[in-house]
């Protein structure tokens, strides 16, 4: 990819705010005694989105997966929107359409199909858990670019809105009653000779011992552990970059890791390759004995991967 991406310079937050759901966003809770930290998962969060393939060509069908966490409630609906960058950051959609999904359980298959069609026509490419997000890159997506520019490509923007399902709610999905998280991600589209791939997280290593994937990690309260996020060898890709003078240059990815937890602390919430280890200190008095921590890796080219580790905190 070159540096010539056609992205508007105005703050994306300002345009995303036109989404009706934003207006019903979370209220401020200012206690003046300390602010919540990014690595602490204490509310609904979208932590990561991965596109597969990570750098599609026009005509490719892209599937998306996400890491959406909510420590206090079940994530109700995750809507997906994919928009060409020319439409700006994000797309607008009638919130009543989304609200009507709250009554999906009572709909007939035909009604659901009609609703899905209406949502897709509005720009939604997926509404989890009702239909999985996929997006087929239009075949003419790179039309208008020169051959060199097509190698470097352009970007699409995928916007994700996660809506909390509040227990005991009215039965319809009310976007004003629960927590909402809005996130967006760029999807490079190109004819690159060395297209990007998502990195692969093999798992975690705790104090030098690899954790079996899927296993619950038993840790002691108040203790500090060295935790590493292990990548496959293929995760660190070499790729070709063509500079403004037309000279090709081989570069190597420089991924970085972002760490999250529910309780306890890290010595730092980010680590940059080749440093993959953080010091995790388990809480002295956890409110829950079973918790999770997450490691999210970005390859700085749009590729993402993550791992969630279940913890059991004992004495």
């Amino acid at each position: 990819m070159t540096s010539e991406r056609h992205i508007p310079r105005s703050p994306p937050g300002a345009k995303l705010a036109i989404l009706a759901v934003v207006a019903t966003g979370p209220s401020l809770s200012c206690n003046g005694l300390g602010l919540a930290q990014s690595f602490q998962i204490d509310r609904l969060r979208v932590l990561a989105i991965a596109a597969d393939p990570a750098e599609p060509e026009p005509g490719d069908t892209v599937t998306f997966t996400s890491l959406v966490v909510d420590p206090v409630a079940t994530v109700g609906i995750t809507t997906w929107l994919a928009c060409n960058v020319d439409s700006g950051y994000g797309c607008s959609v009638d919130p009543t359409l989304i609200n009507s999904l709250g009554d999906a359980a009572n709909m007939t298959p035909d009604q659901l199909a009609a609703l899905y069609a209406e949502l897709q026509a509005a720009g939604l490419i997926g509404v989890q858990p009702f239909f999985e997000p996929t997006w087929t890159v239009p075949a003419d997506y790179l039309d208008g670019l020169t051959d060199d520019q097509k190698i470097e490509g352009s970007e699409a923007i995928v916007t994700v809105t996660a809506i909390q399902d509040v227990p005991g709610d009215t039965g319809t999905l009310d976007t004003a009653s629960g927590d909402i998280e809005i996130a967006y991600k760029r999807v490079p589209v190109s004819l690159a000779t060395t297209p990007n791939h998502n990195p692969q997280v093999l798992g975690l290593t705790v104090d030098g011992v690899a954790v079996t994937p899927g296993a619950v990690l038993k840790l002691s309260r108040g203790q500090t552990y060295a935790i590493s996020c292990d990548l496959s060898a293929a995760s660190i890709e070499d790729y070709t970059f063509v500079d403004d003078a037309g000279l090709a240059e081989t570069r190597t990815e420089q991924p970085y890791f972002t760490w999250y937890l529910q309780e306890g602390s890290f010595d730092q919430s980010n680590t940059l390759w080749p440093y993959t280890t953080v010091q995790y200190t388990a809480p002295d008095s956890p409110t829950m004995n079973e918790q999770s921590l997450w490691c999210v890796v970005r390859d700085r080219r749009g590729g993402m991967a993550w791992v969630e580790q279940k913890l059991e905190l004992g004495a």
Partner: protein
């Protein structure tokens, strides 16, 4: 009858003048009631001994009569009044004697000026010795050998004290014979120190006596002496003077053209809590100056941006005024004599600024004895050596330097807080050297000064500094300035003179972040100010002048990405390193001319000052802009108490250097920012030492330079002149001069400052818009060389923008906040705090020591300064200003 009038204050403790040169009662001053510093104190050259009042003599009374003596520009006494009558005939006697005094004229930088001084005329009782004939007339003493002699010096300065009475008195436990002998001796046992500070007394009988030196203007000292077997004593007396360190303070009427000029002497500056004794920071306690965040000295004057205000040192503008953190200015206070603060309405001598002016004057008064001053406080330590040399001591020189030691304290602090792997090293130094030619028809001085500030930071390996791969590693920034300034003033005759102030220097700044960000800039600068003041008559003075500034600046920029590429904002954008190495030169000759027109027969009553200035900025290939600034100011004295004042004018400010450059072959095409400013006000002398001042102002700002909202490539201009602004308000100041034991003032500013960045946009509150700003401060001198002072401030909270939440940029791993309210539409809570200071001075024979404790924010220091949000803009909290900080320090002065 034998009377004795001992008192003589050689240098008055304080002085002021509120009258014109000829007749203060008939011709009240038209100038602002603010005192620029005197360069030469009035010196009493003819003292007249007052006859001892018979009533007081008969009753054995002593007294001190505090006089206000008005002295005209020739040194002649024009009026004498008693501040506090003491009766018994003392007042009349003191007035009659003082009217016959003759002084050398007081002077400021422009020549002799009228002043009023405060004079303590003391009467020391001496009994009339009994006459053998009963006539009351003393008989001539028999010739006896000198058996008591010695010297009298001032403690702390070692200065020999002349014309001080020295007497031998009977001690408190004296025998009857001793008492009789003392009475019989009368004036024979009293003498006066000569010009060399020596004295001698004859015929003192054997025994233990009290040797006393006393001067009502200076103080007194006693010492027991014992004489025996006819052996002569050599006694060295040391007197702790009460007024040795007082600074002369003056109000006077000179050709000051500024409508609003507030001058603070260094004597006041040192006593104001929370300023670290820094002269520039004191400006923030005056009307028109907004409160700067975190106690820094940022100059936000009458709603203008900090970069709109200029700071001058002896008439030459300097680019950086503060050391790191903004707590101390780069000029050592020991080399500063006064600070002129002009919040608006200033004349055409000052250009290239739309805000205010702070003009720092370096010392022009030099001590008779060589002196070393050493000062240490919480931030730094510094020393200054000053003195005179040459056969006639016709040359003066001062050398000063300071070095901070915060960097030395940081390492143990970081280690103690569990951050041993981190290094943060802020440090600075500054130096000043001044040479001056004294007692010459021409005025000539050379000032050399400079400073360097360095800040470096390093974190342990493996510790991420954010997620950007190009901002990892160390951080370092440096900026420095070095200047040489020559000031030469030559009078051709009584009407025409030349003022020539060339300066040359080098500025340097750098920023290095990791291995990819590097910015270096050097600027060689030459400035010349030339003025030819021409006084045609009492009613017209014309001053043409020119400010030339020219410079050459090489610079280098290395960035990890091209600033015009989307890689600068797109986290997925592939970065291509960007390097720029260039050099530019530019110049700007700003001619100006103004006149002092005094249309009335009584010339001092009404002053009109029209002037015009051209502002030119030319950087070949980049920028060329010029503008004219016509200005008019006037002051009118209604009577000897009330004065009206007003001004109107245009003020242009060329773009900042970084705004006058682009990477294309096209011109930048920015024009100078413009402000149309006007103000009107009233001044009043409420009492001998109390003055009031109220003023309203309005500023209309146009062509303000803002970021180009349509910038998308390097071919687009970075900046455009689309911004506008307005500021208006009212300022009130009530001030008590530092006369006697007390000084202080109350300052209040009511103001509004707004901006609009683009046509059609809404107006918004300026970032430092503070509706109310109230400052009260005062200092009081206590006995035993102690002093207390305190400062209170209340201001409206600064504007802030409320955020409603954030949207997560997954690739950037950060949230973008969004607001549902206009920019700066909310406000922080009000700010109020109290600071205090305590000083205790010790005076020893050869040196003096001032111990001080500055209690910064001793009451309610934790005020909100900024509102910050958490990572996703769902929570906010306030960053508080500086907490309570006790800052002890000392200043020692040695004479040699």
């Amino acid at each position: 009858m034998g009377t004795l009038a001992l008192a003589l204050a050689i240098a008055p403790a304080s002085a002021r003048a509120d009258g014109p040169p000829v007749d203060p009662k008939m011709a009240p001053p038209a100038a602002p009631a603010e005192p620029p510093p005197l360069t030469k104190d009035p010196v009493l050259v003819t003292f007249v001994d007052a006859p001892y009042p018979p009533e007081a003599q008969a009753a054995g009374l002593e007294a001190h009569v505090m006089l206000d003596i008005e002295i005209d520009a020739t040194g002649k006494v024009t009026n004498v009044t008693v501040e506090q009558p003491v009766g018994h005939g003392f007042d009349e006697a003191a007035i009659a004697a003082a009217k016959q005094f003759v002084f050398s004229p007081a002077e400021d930088a422009t020549g002799p000026v009228p002043v009023i001084i405060q004079f303590d005329y003391g009467f020391v009782f001496k009994p009339i010795p009994p006459s053998p004939t009963g006539s009351g007339v003393a008989t001539a003493p028999a010739e006896k050998p000198i058996n008591v002699s010695g010297t009298l010096r001032e403690m702390g300065t070692r200065k020999l004290l002349a014309k001080v009475a020295v007497s031998v008195l009977a001690p408190a436990d004296a025998s009857d014979d001793q008492k009789k002998a003392a009475v019989a001796a009368g004036n024979d046992w009293t003498t006066e120190t000569d010009a060399n500070g020596t004295f001698s007394l004859k015929g003192i009988p054997d025994g233990t006596w009290t040797l006393r030196a006393a001067d009502p203007g200076l103080g007194s000292v006693t010492q027991a002496i014992t004489l025996s077997a006819g052996i002569a004593l050599d006694v060295h007396l040391w007197m702790r003077t009460v007024a040795a360190e007082d600074t002369l303070y003056a109000y006077y009427d000179k050709d000051k053209n500024e409508v609003t000029q507030r001058t603070i002497t260094m004597d006041e500056v040192r006593r104001i809590p929370g300023t670290f004794g820094d002269p520039v920071r004191v400006v923030q306690s005056l009307p028109g100056a907004a409160r700067a965040p975190f106690g820094t000295g940022l100059l936000i004057i009458r709603g203008s941006n900090p970069e709109d205000s200029g700071v001058y040192v002896d008439g030459i503008r300097i680019p950086y005024i503060y050391h790191l953190g903004g707590f101390e200015s780069v000029i050592n206070p020991d080399l500063v004599s006064a600070v002129d603060y002009l919040p608006g309405g200033f004349g055409v001598q000052y250009g290239r600024g739309m805000g205010g002016v702070v003009d720092v004057s370096t010392v022009t008064k030099w001590p008779e004895e060589n002196k070393i001053t050493w000062k240490t406080d919480a931030l730094d330590s510094g020393a200054m050596i000053e003195g005179r040399f040459g056969k006639k001591k016709q040359y003066a020189i001062g050398l000063a330097g300071r070095r901070s030691y915060i960097d030395l304290l940081m390492a143990p602090v970081l280690a103690a807080t569990g951050n041993a792997g981190y290094t943060v090293s802020p440090k600075w130094y500054d130096y000043q050297a001044k040479f001056e030619l004294l007692d010459h028809r021409d005025s000539f001085s050379v000032l050399l000064f400079g400073f360097q500030d360095i800040l470096t930071a390093q974190s342990p390996a493996g510790t991420a500094q954010g997620t950007d791969q190009d901002t990892q590693g160390s951080f370092g920034t440096t900026y420095s300035t070095h200047r040489m300034l020559v000031r030469w003033e030559h009078p051709f005759n009584d009407h025409l003179s030349l003022r020539f102030i060339p300066s040359f220097g080098r500025d340097y700044s750098s920023l290095v972040v990791g291995s990819s960000w590097r910015l270096f800039q050097t600027q060689w600068l030459a400035e010349v100010r030339t003025e030819v003041p021409w006084t045609l008559n009492d009613h017209l003075k014309i001053v043409p002048g020119i400010d030339f500034v020219g410079g050459w600046s090489p610079f280098e920029v290395d960035l990890p990405f091209n600033p015009s590429s989307f890689a600068s904002t797109d986290p997925l954008g592939e970065r291509q390193p960007f390097a720029l190495k260039d050099q530019k030169w530019g110049w700007g000759p700003d001619p100006y001319i103004f006149a002092n027109v005094r249309p009335l027969k009584n010339a001092d009553r009404w002053l009109i000052t029209p002037g015009i200035r051209a502002t030119v900025a030319w950087i070949p290939g980049e920028e060329k802009t010029a503008a004219l600034d016509p200005r008019l100011a006037t002051k009118f004295s209604i009577d000897d108490r009330w004065r009206l004042k007003g001004s109107v004018g245009l003020y242009h400010q060329p773009p900042q250097p970084y705004q006058m450059y682009n990477t294309t072959d096209t011109m930048v095409n920015l024009v100078s920012e413009q402000t149309l400013s006007g103000d009107v006000g009233v001044e009043a002398d409420v009492g001998q030492a109390i003055h009031g001042d109220i003023e309203g102002f309005y500023k209309d700002m146009t062509h303000l330079i803002v970021g180009n909202p349509n910038f998308s490539s390097l071919t687009d201009p970075y900046f455009v002149n689309d911004g506008v602004g307005r500021a208006y308000g009212m300022e009130i100041m009530i001030r008590h001069d530092p006369v006697g034991h007390f000084f202080g003032w109350v300052s209040y500013t009511l103001s509004k400052s707004e901006r609009r960045d683009e046509p059609g946009d809404d107006w918004y509150n300026y970032d430092y818009d503070q509706t109310h700003n109230l400052v009260g401060l005062g200092g009081y001198k206590l006995p035993l060389q102690m002093e207390v002072s305190a400062r209170f401030q209340y201001t409206t909270g600064n504007p802030t923008t409320p955020y409603a939440g954030g949207v997560y940029d997954i690739d950037q791993d950060s949230y973008s906040g969004y607001s549902t309210a206009p920019y700066n539409s909310s406000r922080l809570p009000p700010y109020w705090a109290v600071s205090a200071r305590f000083d205790k001075e010790f005076t020893f024979k050869a040196w003096s020591l001032d111990l001080f404790l500055d209690l910064i924010n001793v009451v309610h220091g934790t005020n909100p300064e900024f509102e910050v949000y958490n990572y996703d803009y769902t929570q906010s909290a306030y960053i508080s200003s500086l907490p309570f900080i006790p800052s002890p320090g000392f200043e020692a002065k040695f004479d040699f």
